[in-house]
Amino acid sequence: QPKILIAAASDLKFALDSVAATFKKTHPGTVDITYGSSGKLFEQISNSAPFDIFFSADITYPQQLKQKKLTLSEIYIYGKGRIVLWSKKIDPEKEGMNTLLSPSILKIAIANPQHAPYGKRAEEALAYYKLTERVKSKLVFGENISQTAQFVTTGAADAGIVALSLALSPNMKKENGTYFLIPEESHKPLEQGAVITKHALGNAYAKAFLDYMNGATANAILLHFGFTKP
C-alpha cells in the first residue's frame, strides 16, 4: 500500500483535498496532507520533517530547498495564486479597492507581509492603489492566509485581502461574503511551486502524485479554485 505525506500551503487547502481525492481513485494508496504556512513548512522540511512533497504558496521556498540539496525533483509551478478583497459588510465589487476607504470599514485583515506570501502581495496591491498610508491604521495581520480568512469570516475584521482559492471554497462561500478580484497588475505574481523532497527517496507514489498534478483533472480542479496556469 503506497503512502505519501504532503506539506502544503494553507491556500491550497480545498483544492489539494479535491485533487488528492480524485488521485486516489486511480492510484490507490494513502495521501496525508498537512497544511500550514509555507514558511513554517519550509523550516520543518529543512530540519528533516518526513514530508514527501512540498506545495508552497511562494516559489522561493522550494528554490531554497533545492539549493540546500533537499529535493529530488525540479520545481513544478502548479499555478498562480490571486488575491481578492473580501467582505461581509460591504460589497467590494462596487467600489473595488476604494471600498477600504469607507468609514464603515474599521479593520482590514491581511496576512502578515513579513513572512506570508499572500501578505506580501496584499501589501503591494495596497501600495499600487496608493492606499498604504490611508489604511495603515486599519490593518490587522493574520499569521497566514487562513487566519486572515477567519478574521473576515467571523466579522472581527470588516474586510480583508485573502486568497482567491479560499474565497472560492465551499466553506467560505457559506459565509455570505462578497469579493472583488484584485487585478493582477497590482502585484507581483504569486507563483505556486511544488517539489519532491529528499524524504520521498524511492517513493514512486510521490512522483505519481506530482505527475498527476500536471494532468488535466488536476488542472481543472486548480482552475476551479482560481489557480491560473502561468
Binding site: 504556512s37 514558511g39 490593518l139
Partner: protein, 226 residues
C-alpha cells in the same frame, strides 16, 4: 533598529492581566476552597477548562464571541461603544480567560494549606471574614500567591496563540513580544529573532531572580530548625 514597543506592550499586558486575575482569583479561590455547597466541583471544573483548549482555538471562539457581528460583541459595541477584537483591552480579556486556572488553582490550594485554627483564632478575636482574609489567611500563604502570580505573569508573556487571534498583530497596539519574535522567525530573520528572544530571556531571568531572592528571604527556614 530594535523596536521596543513590543516589550512595553508585553509588560503592560502581563502586569494588567496578573493584577486583574489576582483580584478575581482571591475571592473565587476563597469560595472554592471553603464553600461546601454541592455544585462547587462544577464551578471548579469550569474554571479549569480554559487550560485544555488549544490557545488558537480558544482565540477563535473568543474572536467569534467578541466580533461585532455576533450578539455579545454587538451588544458591547452598541451600548458601550466598545470593540474588543484587535484592541489592547481585548487582549487583556483574552489573557485573563486564558490564564484563569493558573492563578486560581495555586491560590485555592494555598487557602487549604493554612491551618483552620488560625482562621478560628481571628474569628474569636471578633475579626470579620474580610480582615481575617487580608491579615491572617493571605499573609500565611504567600508562597501560593507568588506561585499564582508568577505562573500567570510568565504565562501571559509567553502567550501567543490567543493573542495572535484576538489581537491581530497590530504594531504598537497588540503586537506583543511573543508575536514579534514569531514573526521574525517565520520571516527567517533569525538574527533579529535571537536578539529579541535574548532580551526577553535575560529580562525574565532577572525578574525571576529578584522574585526568588525576595521570596527566599520571606521563606527563610526559621533558624530554630537547622
Amino acid at each position: 533598529m530594535l523596536d521596543l514597543s513590543p516589550f512595553y506592550l508585553t509588560l503592560k499586558l502581563a502586569t494588567v492581566t496578573t493584577a486583574i486575575l489576582f483580584v478575581i482569583s482571591v475571592p473565587v479561590a476563597y469560595g472554592l476552597a471553603f464553600a461546601r455547597w454541592r455544585g462547587k466541583v462544577i464551578v471548579e471544573s469550569i474554571v479549569g477548562l480554559p487550560l485544555v483548549l488549544p490557545p488558537s482555538v480558544l482565540g477563535f471562539y473568543l474572536l467569534l464571541a467578541l466580533s461585532p457581528l455576533n450578539a455579545f460583541g454587538h451588544f458591547l459595541e452598541k451600548y458601550f461603544d466598545l470593540r474588543l477584537v484587535f484592541t489592547f483591552p481585548g487582549l487583556v480579556v483574552a489573557s485573563v480567560i486564558y490564564s484563569l486556572p493558573f492563578m486560581i488553582q495555586p491560590i485555592q490550594n494555598g487557602f487549604r494549606s493554612v491551618p483552620v485554627a488560625l482562621k478560628e483564632a481571628a474569628y474569636t478575636l471578633g475579626k470579620s471574614r474580610f480582615t481575617t482574609l487580608t491579615k491572617v489567611l493571605l499573609p500565611n500563604m504567600k508562597g501560593a500567591l507568588l506561585t499564582g502570580c508568577m505562573l500567570t505573569f510568565a504565562h501571559t508573556i509567553g502567550e501567543f496563540g490567543v493573542v495572535l487571534m484576538v489581537g491581530g498583530n497590530i504594531p504598537h497596539e497588540t503586537r506583543v513580544i511573543s508575536v514579534t519574535i514569531y514573526d521574525e522567525v517565520e520571516a527567517m530573520n533569525y538574527h533579529q529573532a535571537n536578539v529579541y528572544a535574548s532580551i526577553l530571556l535575560v529580562f525574565s531571568f532577572l525578574v525571576l531572580i529578584s522574585v526568588y531572592l525576595v521570596n527566599n528571604r520571606a521563606f527563610k527556614v526559621d533558624p530554630y530548625h537547622d
